[in-house]
């Protein structure tokens, strides 16, 4: 292996939402990651903006999407039972998993009953959420991730860092290293060479697979169909060529009709990858029919609750509208600076900062709701208008109520409030502060450190203040509008 090895971009301990600070600092100092992130952010933001600009109806679509999701969530049990009835009509089996343990157990039982050996997988965030790969590996199955991004991170022994582009943090050189080591083939250094090599490696696996596991972008109550949307075609090869197809999906993935799907597809591709549509959109229901020459012999859908029904009751219900497009993380300055792994669990970025504490416990993810500048860009781009900053603020509040915020923070805020309600004192304090900082800067434009604030300055610079407060400057400017007095 040449160059930087892939594994070097992880802290020594396994990642966890509990160690957000540590992981974030680590990420900020990882040069490969920083290079990959800045390239990705530019690409995603520009492509989405271009695609959305071509659709004058986009705002209307967002409105309709949010409204329709709310309608469905308000009657979720009805939609799910309608979906179940249609799957059953076409010979499929619906399983209900209240939690991650049950979901894993159901899937392990299906694989065992099928005498499976090789299991191929399409991209599925729910399967990450329930820790499926670890369970299947522990049971001795050969697991092959088939989405190219997932395949790359599987070789690297990592988790996805983005819900749409799981290997977005990897550079081409790192991928060359991984492939060279795993395949024992001549080193590929071009994008085309790498993609072709993965294609050839994975082709064999699709045909050998006993079980193919995919996620679902949507479940259609009207028809019992499960949908996958991909650009590579890996999900289709996975579910068509394996003997058994297992679909894993959160209970909130269900929509009513095929017309609803049309609405959400219009929002999804543009928000996720800036395309009019992804390459493949596939609707499937049930096992192969009599006379069919291909397709799976059995079709299972595992509906996963795992905390979702709890979210239905209360202020976080809008989070269940999420169609997992990734736009919020692409537009998040915090995600853009630290990448997905620092968040420590399956879902990164703003949506992850809401979901992780709700799924894994407020206590388990204390820093996530606070890793937000409340700039609001995520809510502006969210295709189903989830008020992400509001939900994050709400989580901070709940943390506070539960006594989960550090005591020092509470005392500092109390002091600040005391000061802020006394304007004369506040301005005096402010004047002292900017003069002190300006003196410390000694004419330099940026401050690189300050006593007692090493931690803060470790990853940031502060522009040196001009020595006077905003109010002072403003008064001066008002008295001398031509700007002579500076």
């Amino acid at each position: 292996m040449t160059g930087q090895t892939a594994r070097s971009c992880q802290p020594a301990q396994p990642r966890s939402p509990r160690r957000f600070r540590e992981q974030a600092v680590f990420a900020l100092h990882e040069p490969h990651l920083q290079a990959a992130l800045s390239r990705a952010a530019d690409g995603f933001i520009g492509k989405r903006a271009k695609a959305v600009a071509l659709v004058p109806e986009f705002e209307q679509l967002r409105e309709a999407g949010a409204r329709r999701k709310d309608e469905i969530l308000a009657d979720l049990d009805t939609y799910l039972t309608a979906f179940e009835a249609e799957v059953t009509r076409h010979g499929g089996v619906v399983h209900w998993a209240p939690d991650a343990d049950t979901a894993r157990r159901i899937i392990l039982e299906i694989c065992a009953a099928a005498n499976a050996r090789v299991i191929t997988k399409g991209k599925s965030m729910v399967s990450e959420e329930i820790g499926l790969n670890e369970a299947l590996e522990a049971a001795g199955y050969e697991i092959v991730e088939t989405d190219l991004g997932e395949y790359i991170i599987q070789l690297a022994g990592e988790a996805p860092s983005h819900i749409i582009a799981p290997a977005v943090h990897k550079t081409k050189e790192q991928i060359s290293d991984l492939f060279e080591a795993a395949h024992g083939t001549p080193r590929q250094t071009t994008v085309e060479g790498l993609v072709t090599e993965a294609r050839l490696q994975l082709r064999q696996k699709y045909f050998q697979a006993d079980v193919g596991i995919t996620g679902a972008n949507f479940l259609v109550a009207e028809t019992g169909q499960t949908l996958i949307v991909t650009n590579e075609g890996n999900g289709d090869l996975t579910q068509t060529l394996a003997r058994i197809h297992i679909v894993t999906a959160g209970i909130e993935r269900v929509v009513g009709t095929l017309e609803d799907v049309a609405l959400f597809l219009r929002l999804l591709a543009r928000s996720a990858t800036g395309q009019d549509s992804e390459t493949y959109t596939t609707y499937s229901v049930g096992p192969r029919r009599p006379g069919d020459q291909d397709g799976p012999e059995a079709f299972h859908v595992v509906l996963v609750d795992n905390g979702r029904s709890r979210m239905l009751n209360g202020p976080f219900r809008p989070m269940l509208r999420c169609i997992r497009c990734g736009a919020c993380m692409n537009h998040c300055p915090v995600y853009g600076a630290i990448g997905g792994h620092a968040y420590g669990w399956v879902y990164p970025g703003p949506m992850g900062s809401v979901l992780t504490p709700l799924f894994t416990g407020l206590d388990n993810a204390r820093d996530l709701p606070n890793a937000c500048t409340l700039n609001g860009r995520c809510a502006e781009v969210c295709p189903v208008k989830i008020p992400l900053p509001d939900l994050l603020r709400r989580l901070r509040h709940e943390q506070h109520k539960a006594g989960l915020r550090p005591a020092l923070e509470g005392r500092a805020l109390t002091l600040w409030r005391w000061l802020a309600t006394r304007p004369a004192l506040y301005h005096a304090a402010e004047r002292i502060q900017v003069r002190l900082l300006a003196a410390w800067a000694r004419g330099r434009k940026t401050l690189r450190w300050f006593p007692f604030a090493r931690g803060w300055f470790a990853v940031r610079d502060l522009p040196a203040p001009p020595g006077r407060t905003f109010l002072e400057l403003w008064h001066a400017k008002r008295n001398h509008p031509d700007g002579v007095e500076r």
Binding site: L61, D75, D77, A82, H95, T279, S284
Partner: protein, 222 residues
């Protein structure tokens, strides 16, 4: 309580509903699956075939026009010679009735890892996104659309619809009748295909032919 009841009860409790899912109002279920006021669509004034072609080629699909389906075998031979592709070995549906060169030994079987070229007929096209639609059936294997390197497709202009909604209306109409709910006849798999397989997973650089066909060429007939 089994797992199903546990989840449904948790949902109903969270939503403040009483009773069980089984005793729930059957009208609610019917309502859930009934199309409601139409959702917003993309308005376009471009003729639908033009839009379809423009979007199809923008996604790296290729297309040429043919006068009729009878012209297909010759056009396929010419296309294969031009791009240096192996002639098709797999075909489906009524396309098998055309007069193909005997040497190709065209057959309707699932595609295998060695299948290089397949030829199919699209059920419809959707102008909104520039995609092809295929249904699965015993004479229409799914693998033809995903396994070969080259997928050659016959599409009739008269089968191109403007929006997804018109496609579903067409399908409901063609599958159902007064006596039968169209959903009884719902194909197991419906594939929308918008161009060749692609990936952006290596440094966001778009590369064609990730796992599915590298080339998808459409022969457009009136």
């Amino acid at each position: 309580m089994n797992n199903r009841e546990r989840i449904l009860t948790a949902i109903r409790t969270a939503l403040g509903k009483s009773g069980t899912a089984e005793t729930a109002d059957p009208a609610a279920r019917a309502n859930a699956i009934t199309p409601r006021a139409p959702h917003p669509r993309l308005a376009f004034s471009e003729p639908i075939t033009e839009r379809w072609q423009r979007l199809w080629t923008a996604r790296a699909g290729t297309v040429c026009e043919l006068p009729s389906r009878d012209a297909l075998p010759e056009a396929v031979a010419a296309w294969c010679a031009e791009v240096g592709a192996a002639p098709p070995t797999h075909a489906s549906g009524t396309l098998l009735n055309l007069s193909w060169p005997a040497a190709w030994q065209l057959r309707c079987e699932p595609a295998t890892v060695t299948t290089e070229t397949a030829v199919s007929e699209a059920y419809a096209g959707v102008a909104e996104v520039g995609s092809l639609v295929f249904l699965s059936a015993p004479v229409h294997p799914i693998t033809h659309r995903f396994v070969p390197d080259n997928h050659l497709v016959l599409l009739s202009q008269s089968r191109i619809v403007a929006h997804f909604e018109e496609f579903w209306a067409l399908l409901r109409d063609e599958l159902g009748d007064d006596a039968t709910d169209w959903r009884e006849r719902l194909p197991r798999t419906i594939n929308f295909v918008a161009g060749p397989s692609r990936t952006g997973d290596v440094e966001q650089t778009i590369q064609l032919g990730a796992h599915g066909p590298r080339r998808v060429h459409v022969f457009l007939i009136p």
